[in-house]
């Protein structure tokens, strides 16, 4: 990136704010649909951060895979199974949440302290003509095995997901005619009322 230092700092702050806010939204908002849409915003701001880190290819991949595929998939699933019914309350739910929050904040503090106190051997940023060429060289030389493994993993995941989500070809043991009839009843016109 050939942006000025000031521009970079400003965009970092903006992106960080967006990221934190949307991530908080994902976790805290009661509406799962909003949470899912905010997840998309979160992914996009992460992609922006990647751009600040001179990783244009990974940023594009992030947008393509996370926003274009994972997030759409999640939204798809939510809209298919969007059951609008309150969960049964569990005892000590709030206490659990509070304890978790304290632990998480503690973890964050711990990590921040570690980050700030550790001496990172920061080296000056070498300018690479094209990150993509570099990445390609890595993929096809020293990281060839993991690359192939990843493709196998994707294939396995694809097949696994299809098998898991596939409809059973045979109907359930329950005779379908009986089991369905109750579901088929129309919401707006119950049969007994229609006959009166």
């Amino acid at each position: 990136m050939n942006l000025g230092e000031g521009v970079q700092v400003v965009s970092l702050i903006v992106l960080a704010a967006m990221l934190t806010a949307s991530a908080m939204g994902v976790v805290l908002l009661p509406s799962i649909v909003y949470a899912a849409f905010l997840l998309g915003a979160c992914f996009i701001s992460v992609a922006g951060l990647y751009l600040l880190l001179n990783a244009d290819f990974v940023a594009a991949a992030q947008v393509l895979i996370y926003v274009g595929a994972v997030n759409v998939l999640i939204l798809f699933a939510i809209m298919l199974v969007n059951k609008r019914q309150p969960y049964q309350p569990i005892k000590l739910g709030i206490v659990r949440n509070i304890v978790t929050a304290i632990v998480c904040v503690g973890l964050f503090v711990l990590l921040s302290v570690t980050v700030t106190t550790t001496e990172w051997g920061v080296r000056p940023i070498a300018s690479v003509p094209s990150t993509m060429v570099k990445l390609g060289q890595h993929f096809f030389t020293d990281y060839l095995l993991p690359f192939e493994l990843a493709s196998v993993l994707l294939l396995v995941a694809l097949i696994g997901a299809i098998i898991l989500a596939r409809r059973e070809m045979l109907p359930d043991i329950q005779p379908s005619g009986l089991g369905m009839s109750e579901n088929l009843e129309l919401l707006e016109r119950p049969k007994e009322k229609a006959s009166i």
């Binding site: 594009a60 298919l80 993509m132």
Partner: protein, 371 residues
Amino acid sequence: MGGIDLQRSLVEVLTGAGLSSGAAKAIWMPLPMILIVLVVTVGALVCTWLERKISAAAQQRIGPEYAGPFGILIPVADVAKLVIKQGTPPAKSDPLLYTLGPAIVFISVFLCFLVVPFGQNLLISNIGTGIFFVIAISSIAPIGLLMAGYASNNKYSLLGGLRAAAQSISYEIPLALAALAIAMMSNSLSTIDIVSQQADYGLLSWNILRQPIGFVIFVIAALAECERLPFDLPEAEEELVAGYQTEYTGMRFALFYGGSYANLVLAGMLVSILYLGGWELPFPIDQVGDMLGIAPSTAWWQIITAMLGITAILLKTYFFVFTAILLRWSVPRVRIDQLLDLGWKFLLPIGLFNLLLTAALKLALPSWFGG
């Protein structure tokens, strides 16, 4: 080669007028963006006019007639009407998402034009990820469609949004595969490199001759991504009334409408860049210049070639648009399962095969397939 560098000339003019070079660059920065947004908007509006006129001609009608010569002002009237029209969100809709949905679709389409060149130097930024960037950004649009479908509080809209998401996910892969084969041949993802690799022998070096299978895949997938008629299931009028747009009026609808036509223009430009040689003419213009004895750096010659280039790419784009429109008014709509079958069981394997073939040919005939 090289053509004219507008940025440099403008900056030179401004610094000559006494501005610092930083300020001159700052003045330059927004200009191409505004220009591109304007050009794309006009292009999309021309598309809507073409859609009306071509459909009318194909149906033995006249089409818009009285608004300007040949009804050319009808898109302006459309936009004016939609802008003035009151937007009425349906009851119990989700007002925030309802407004955000069309905006996301619109923005994602226009962002794609960031890397689409109109000429050798006529693009906003020549980033290395080029065509990959377009594919990545255009994958954001389904989120907007899902948002619109969900927020409309209408079952037709929801079904339309879900269909749009499913469709665009499944057709992105063949699209990317076809583009990948091209990238493999030109050794770059950058749109500029892809075009300049097709420049040598005029018509004979266009990618459509080297990638006929890829061309077919890309065109089909691009039509599906644009939700044009054989694949316009998300807004299928006979089935889902208007799909995710059912509840939209006014400016919000205008965003969807303009977005979809801008998307069509984008698809046309991508097709012409990837397969039809972009701004290159069917004959190598530089050699013509050589023959006429004009030095390539002559100013007026550069301007002429640039103009010819822009005309060429626009003609190619609008040829694609014309074909898409004529196709829309000639064929029926596929069913959702047939659509997904076509995407996953036909285009995907063929696309993979095409990729393999391209790689093999590249090894076998490096001189022809960009070794």
